[in-house]
Symmetry: C2
Subunit: 101 residues, 2 copies
């Protein structure tokens, strides 16, 4: 199991567009093999800074995700509304972790 964060800053006023694009991509992404979490967060008191919290069963599942057409389509949708490339970080868990539902 690995966790991933993708920090996204949108252009002014593009928050709702990001939220809509994410909501459209999320259900199918959660059905991808090894996808355990794909949840959007907004930085408190901000309207342009977001974080995607992702959990994948393995590095291979994450790699597979990155090669899907869905991921490419989502990237295209984002390219119109983000203020810069998402800052993606991959983590390894250290010690015990709370199970996901």
């Amino acid at each position: 199991m690995i966790n991933v964060t993708a920090a996204i800053t949108v252009k002014p006023g593009q928050g709702p567009a990001l939220e809509a694009a994410f909501a459209a991509a999320r259900p199918d992404t959660l059905q991808e093999p090894g996808c355990l979490r794909y949840d959007l967060q907004r930085v408190r008191r901000s309207d342009d800074r977001y974080l995607v919290l992702e959990t994948w069963a393995s590095p291979a599942a994450l790699k597979e995700h990155g090669s899907t057409e869905r991921f490419a389509d989502f990237g295209k949708a984002l390219s119109e509304i983000v203020a810069g490339a998402p800052d993606v970080t991959v983590y390894e868990p250290v010690g015990e972790q709370v199970a996901l539902g």
Copy 2:
């Protein structure tokens, strides 16, 4: 429910000390009212960059956590081993979220 990330960079060679201090604080922290997640991650291929993934039932639960002696003790333990103050960000969830175990 709110998510929090705390990005921590430790001084060279202090990774194991952070991991031990976190493992010691984690069990009791998870017993705090409204604590749903308190998990340590290490940035992949790094030995000094960490992220704490936290989930709290409410902003009030998070605030209560910040006022505990345990939190103060953990802060003191960290002060010896971190390369700078943890970068803490509080988020609001956007749309559906995966349930925690």
